[in-house]
């Protein structure tokens, strides 16, 4: 198998499809033409994610979306309804449990049973594959707003078949972003291939005039990932998706914590995305900002501070939507009440900020310029490695550590990066490993970290990184000694 960035023929897709649908009995329920009719006839325009995102983009507002999923249908519907009415969620999620993410449908089944017995969700998400198409439709039909599948599944082919047939209109993930942070032993080649399937499926819906949004998972490991690293991944996944016929793409980024860097990141994400996708027609690009994805403070009041700071940044950066954390983040999957609290705090901030001017200035310009230069240096090298083929380039780039993600569990990730905050809290490269950076970029990061080292009278090293990882949980941004 040599994975190339070429649109799959319908035959190739349909052949693989037969196998995919046999992975678990609920696969039998899926009939593509019936599913398309279902989307056409049963979904109102307000239930389609891409429509809602397009509106927000035009009105320049930032929509809010939680994460949420429990084991059983009724409870899941109740949860989502609650987040919509009591939390004011504009968009809804269905977070998939971790067994399903690893294609352990057997264990997911056990989790469903145990949840029934214990009277509480024993799964950390909604096992959509086990529940099947009709149950998914029950969820969709109960809700007036668009619902997205959010997961972390390296091989999400069956999950995509079932949930899209089930009426979901947005599907998160990608061959890199749902592999490297979420798997240990799965090759990049494998996941790119499997995600081409998902994208081809979405492309098929698009061909038939339906809008299904796709969203590469921006934050990756959520832990000190510099913007250029996640931007590179997001744009590669967008290119791979567009090739398979995906038209509606939301590019993601996880808050680093420094306002200027984060605003610059959202701006450049959209700008770079537009630039790199210029060859594809009719693409709608939107952005998603993830509130702080690393370790949270346990105290709920402090957590509200972190949540609100994320909301501020999302609004000032004018992201199309923001994924919201909850005051329970450090402790466990939130209750629906805690989840709604995170949403309401966020909405309050977004609403207070939505009319405010965005700010400019030199610092922002510099930050944007650097992110763009770094991302281009990475992406150009990736394309070069693949002789113009981004799929091949990506596979080789991971092998050589040209693409590399901090703190990732995957053995297909070089793991040579070390990142830490500079003296202003922006995330910089302490070791840039094999990232193909020019001297200018390397110097920039070095200088920034030396500045901090000087301020703290210590050499930038792993201890500094550890301190930064704990910092927000302990109530700081920069982990000072």
């Amino acid at each position: 198998m040599k994975v190339e960035n070429k649109r799959w023929s319908l035959d190739k897709f349909k052949e693989m499809r037969k196998e995919v649908l046999q992975e678990w009995p609920t696969g039998e329920e899926v009939e593509l033409e019936e599913a398309i009719r279902y989307h056409q006839q049963q979904l109102s325009s307000e239930q389609v994610m891409a429509n809602r995102l397009a509106e927000a983009e035009q009105e320049k507002i930032t929509l809010i979306q939680p994460r949420a999923g429990v084991a059983l249908i009724e409870e899941h519907i109740e949860l989502l309804e609650f987040l919509h009415t009591e939390g004011g969620a504009d968009l809804l999620p269905t977070t998939i449990d971790s067994y399903t993410r690893q294609n352990n449908y057997q264990e997911a089944e056990a989790g469903i049973k145990e949840s029934r017995n214990e009277g509480r969700s024993m799964l950390n998400g909604f096992p959509a594959v086990n529940h099947g198409v009709q149950s998914c439709r029950q969820v969709i039909e109960a809700l007036a707003v668009p619902v997205q599948v959010r997961h972390g599944t390296p091989d999400a082919r069956l999950l995509a078949e079932i949930t899209l047939a089930g009426g979901f209109t947005d599907f998160e993930g990608g061959g890199i972003s749902y592999n490297i942070p979420y798997a240990k032993d799965v090759s990049i080649e494998q996941t790119i291939y499997h995600w081409q399937y998902v994208d081809r499926l979405v492309g098929y819906y698009e061909e038939r005039g339906l809008k299904v949004n796709r969203e590469p998972f921006g934050p990756l490991t959520g832990t000190l990932v510099p913007p250029s690293v996640s931007h590179s991944v997001a744009i590669i996944e967008a290119l791979l998706a567009a090739e398979q016929g995906v038209k509606n793409i939301t590019l993601g980024y996880g808050q680093c914590g420094n306002l200027i860097q984060d605003v610059a990141a959202i701006h450049t994400l959209k700008e770079l995305g537009t630039e790199y996708l210029a060859d594809y027609e009719d693409i709608m690009l939107t952005t998603v900002f993830h509130q702080w994805m690393g370790g949270f403070p346990q105290d709920e009041a402090q957590a509200f501070g972190v949540i609100s700071w994320g909301a501020v940044t999302a609004a000032l950066a004018n992201a199309t939507k923001v994924i919201v954390k909850t005051p329970h983040e450090a402790l466990g999957v939130p209750t629906k009440e805690a989840n709604a609290q995170g949403l309401r705090a966020t909405k309050q901030v977004i609403n207070m900020l939505k009319d405010q001017q965005s700010f400019n200035g030199e610092e922002l310009a510099t930050e944007k310029e650097m992110i763009k230069q770094e991302t281009k240096e990475i992406l150009d090298r990736v394309l070069e490695l693949g002789d113009g083929d981004v799929a091949q380039g990506t596979i080789k780039a991971f092998e050589g550590g040209i693409l590399d993600i901090p703190f990732a569990p995957s053995k297909y990730n070089a793991g040579n990066l070390l990142t830490a905050r500079d003296n202003n809290g922006a995330v910089r490269f302490l070791k840039h490993g094999n990232l193909p950076f020019s001297e200018k970029v390397v110097d920039f990061h070095e200088t920034k970290l030396e500045e901090r080292g000087a301020a703290e009278s210590r050499e930038p090293n792993f201890q500094m990184v550890t301190d930064d990882i704990y910092a927000i949980g302990k109530g700081m941004l920069v982990g000072r000694p």
């Binding site: 969700s121 466990g332 550890t466």
Partner: protein, 138 residues
């Protein structure tokens, strides 16, 4: 001190790698021989690693909420494998949701873990405990 070996890993379908990485650094620096089997580790892999390296302790992490299901029968499996005396610690976000800590702790003690650690535990605490439990002079 005589070098003691600990096996470290994140159990089940759990991929949270950051705490694991930090525990590795911290236990190594504290003088332990660390065998880190990483994330997505089934019970059997912990046990195999412990047998192979003649380990003194196994430190199980579970962050993602399925810890209760993933850890069932772990102690029994160790005994079956001949690891009668091995020290077993578990820590992380052990159950789904924010729950009363005492009952969660009891649940895992009942499963046969020697010590159970709540979310947010810093490495120095289990390091001190393990030194005590293995009879190492501070």
């Amino acid at each position: 001190m005589e070098e003691k070996t600990v096996v470290l890993g994140v159990i089940g379908s759990d991929v949270h790698a950051v705490g694991n990485r930090i525990l590795e650094e911290a236990f190594s620096e504290a003088g332990f021989e660390v065998v880190n089997i990483g994330v997505l580790a089934p019970q059997q892999e912990f046990i195999n690693a412990a047998i192979e390296t003649d380990a003194d302790a196994i430190l199980v992490s579970s962050l993602y909420g399925h810890g209760e299901m993933d850890c069932k029968g772990f102690r029994e499996k160790c005994i079956e494998a001949g690891l009668e005396d091995i020290v077993l610690y578990v820590g992380g976000n052990l159950v789904v949701g924010k729950q009363e800590w005492e009952s969660t702790k009891q649940k895992f003690l009942d499963m046969g873990f020697d010590r159970v650690y709540p979310p947010g535990t810093l490495p120095k605490e289990p390091i001190a405990d393990l030194k005590k439990d293995l009879g190492i002079e501070g």
